[in-house]
């Protein structure tokens, strides 16, 4: 009996790795290798001699951290971060605020037509970002808009107009996450609260929201990461207006460098920098809220 266990012990050590293998292989192939390759590219640059026209006039050389220095020293990238910060603050506050309000309202016992309301709030999430942005774009264009001749895409309003697209598309999903969490709360809590004399508002503020905090933090982190990567909305709206530059958001700058101006190496360095910043932001946020979010740990 004991010998069998001893024989089995090393095998038990290998088995977890066997189970892990598919995930590890996929991670290596589709995450680690591309990231490694991006890091490699970011340390190199193209060097041209003379007119750069004949064969062999273009070579790839080691650039050290030159691309990073250029990326970090580029004011346009930081201006992009600032724009995204303003946009993100709008989106986060509006989208999560609305999602929370909707979830609480739907969860309140006596809402009629709850199911249809829930689906119709969720539905925009099912519309692909490009389609949603194009649709809103046409609603914004002064010449075509059914809302009349308003400068929705002017320099002063374009951030709000873009945030509106994101809020419209994202509220439903976040509402659903919060709502599902609320439905899992044992009903006895509310009964106890009612016996103690709490009204619906009191229950929402003192019981439901505190219970929801971990879910709110989860949706916040996802929204922050999505905001840092905002690309679809501004890129789709750009041909319709002259208020969105090709470097409006940091990821747009990466796209421009890689595919419009053909400088893959700068693009690689910038994307590594962006990845670093978004990691720092999401980790930093988690650290700050850890104790509130994960009381059970």
């Amino acid at each position: 009996m004991t010998t069998r266990i001893r024989q089995g012990a090393p095998r038990a050590g290998a088995v977890p790795y066997l189970f892990l293998a598919p995930a590890m292989v996929l991670f290596t192939l589709f995450m680690a290798l591309p990231i490694g390759y991006t890091a490699y590219l970011s340390l190199r640059r193209t060097k041209v001699s003379g007119l750069g026209l004949g064969a062999g006039a273009r070579t790839e050389v080691f650039a050290g951290l030159g691309n990073y220095a250029a990326a970090i020293g580029d004011g346009e990238l930081w201006a992009g971060w600032l724009r995204v910060l303003g946009y993100g603050a709008l989106v986060l506050a509006l989208m999560l605020g609305l999602a929370l309000v909707f979830a609480l309202m739907l969860d309140a016992a006596h809402v009629r037509l709850a199911q249809i309301t829930r689906i119709s709030i969720y539905l925009p999430y099912a519309v692909p970002g490009v389609a949603a942005t194009l649709m809103w774009g046409f609603l914004y264009l002064p010449g075509l808009s059914p809302f009349g001749d308003h400068p929705f895409l002017s320099a002063g309003l374009v951030t709000f107009s873009m945030a509106n697209v994101a809020v419209w598309g994202g509220t439903g999903f976040n509402m659903l996450v919060l709502y599902t969490n609320l439905r899992a709360v044992p009903r006895e809590y509310y009964e106890a609260a009612r016996i103690d004399g709490a009204g619906e508002l009191g229950i929402a503020l003192r019981i439901k929201i505190p219970i929801l905090v971990p879910a709110i933090i989860l949706t916040t982190v996802f929204s922050v990461v999505a905001t840092i990567q905002v690309f679809t909305e501004p890129t789709t709206l750009r041909p319709l207006t002259n208020t969105i530059s090709s470097t409006w958001s940091p990821l747009m700058k990466v796209y421009r460098d890689a595919f419009v101006t053909g400088d893959l190496h700068s693009a690689a360095a910038t994307s590594m920098a962006i990845a670093g910043i978004s990691l720092a932001v999401s980790f930093g946020f988690l650290r700050v809220v850890k104790n509130h979010a994960f009381g059970e740990d």
């Binding site: 750069g52 026209l53 075509l144 990461v225 090709s246 893959l264």
Partner: protein, 435 residues
């Protein structure tokens, strides 16, 4: 535990941003070739000419040993970026439609082949100016010219009559007409300045005599902010600031609507304009007419080029000779030219092709001498050498002029931004620049 999961999710999503930068790497085998195996050579061809598959099927019938497959592209800058990326990844098509302004970028990236030996026969079929666009002024030949885009002024003849405006012969008259139109109907504009179409602006600069790039020995000379270009920029900037010219970019839904509703009276465009007008403004069929571009000085007779493209062979194509033979046939053979005109709505660059254009496009049935006019205007068009980083310059145009238009600020400053961005990029990459 959940912190860890969240963190992992954050890493994954963050890394997506990092991973989207594509790859380069060493060339692998291309899709072309097959000559060695004894079967027919198969070629892939990226193009956005409408109905190219029909034209190619004529070639395929007559040449069972060289079979061409057409892959329809979206056109414009996206198509160029896609080709450059495919070439870098070692997987380009054998043949590609290359706009003249993008060809130097393709050459500088080593993405297209020198097909001088294979195209010796084609040389005599093209004029001096258009041939220079595919040689870049060097000894090599990088493509076979396909179509060209001499610029002319499209105008609404019926509405000109209605508002009592003469066809402007100079840009001064054009500005006067713009003011007159606004006085007569504040909902209508004579024209619009497009901050999204650098090729259009380049054509207007060419008309004014600009030379954005030139080759001086072994060095590039960049003069995007030369006097001619500054003149064009400050002219349009003044009109936009004055509010007598609209700023809706071309090819946008709003522009289409304005054209359709008769709220835009002119479009300084190229010879391929009828195709755009007929699909974007079908309601105005038979109401437009064409005239030479307004001139900077009365009595002059100049035009520029907007667009136009060539057929290039990828450097990594395994069947270069076959591809060059096809490219030559497509752009010089009378049957192919006839098909290009009829099926592809192309204005051929070859001298023989231009002579084949007789019947006016349906949209311009009111102007039976359309092609005669076009040929006369085409003869006055002057171009310039394009540099190896036109994509950088053009992107700078969009960003700088978007901002200048939105702020109603100085257009010559936008031109200076284009110049500075172009020079900075060329210097960074290591091109030799003349001072």
């Amino acid at each position: 535990m959940r912190v860890y999961q969240l963190a992992t999710a954050a890493i994954l999503v963050a890394a997506l941003g990092a991973a989207c930068s594509g790859g380069s790497g060493e060339p692998s085998a291309t899709s072309g070739g097959g000559a060695a195996s004894g079967g027919p050579v198969t070629l892939t061809y990226w193009t956005w000419v409408p109905n190219m598959d029909k034209i190619v099927s004529v070639w395929n019938q007559a040449h069972p040993d060289i079979q061409v497959t057409v892959s329809k592209q979206a056109g414009g800058d996206d198509a160029a970026a896609k080709f450059l990326t495919a070439a870098r990844a070692g997987n380009p098509p054998d043949l590609v439609q290359a706009e003249y302004q993008m060809l130097p970028s393709f050459v500088a990236a080593g993405a297209v082949a020198d097909i001088k030996a294979e195209t010796a026969k084609a040389r005599g079929e093209f004029g001096e100016g258009v041939w220079g666009l595919v040689t870049l002024g060097t000894e090599a030949v990088y493509a076979v010219p396909q179509d060209s885009g001499p610029m002319m002024l499209y105008y609404r003849r019926d509405l000109f009559d209605k508002y009592g405006i003469e066809v402007p012969k100079t840009w001064d008259e054009y500005a006067e007409a713009a003011r007159a139109v606004r006085r007569k109907d504040p909902k209508v504009f004579l024209g619009t300045f497009s901050s999204k179409d650098p090729g259009w602006f380049a054509g207007l600069a060419q008309q004014a005599g600009a030379q954005w790039w030139s080759i001086d020995g072994d060095a590039w000379k960049v003069a995007v902010d030369d006097e001619a270009t500054r003149k064009v920029a400050s002219y349009w900037g003044g009109l936009v600031k004055e509010g007598v010219i609209d700023d809706t970019p071309y090819f946008t839904p709003e522009w289409n609507k304005a054209l359709n509703d008769g709220r835009l009276l002119t479009w300084p465009s190229a010879v391929w304009g009828p195709g755009v007008l007929s699909s974007n403004a079908p309601k105005a069929k038979g109401k437009w007419a064409v005239a030479p571009l307004p001139q900077w000085n009365a009595g002059e007779n100049h035009s520029g080029f907007w667009g136009g493209s060539s057929t290039a062979v990828a450097a990594k194509s395994a069947a270069r000779a076959a591809a060059a033979t096809f490219a030559t046939w497509l752009n010089t053979d009378p049957q192919a030219l006839g098909l290009l005109i009829e099926e592809g709505a192309v204005y051929p660059a070859s001298t023989k092709g231009a002579a084949l254009m007789t019947e006016a496009p349906g949209y311009f049935s009111n102007q039976p001498d359309f092609w005669k006019q076009a040929a006369a205007i085409g003869a006055t068009a002057r171009g310039f050498t394009f540099g190896p980083d036109v994509n950088v310059t053009y992107n700078a145009y969009r960003d700088a002029f978007d901002k200048a238009v939105a702020d109603r600020s100085d257009f010559t400053a936008a031109v200076r931004t284009m110049q500075d961005t172009t020079v900075a990029d060329m210097r960074k990459t290591g091109f030799t620049l003349a001072q």
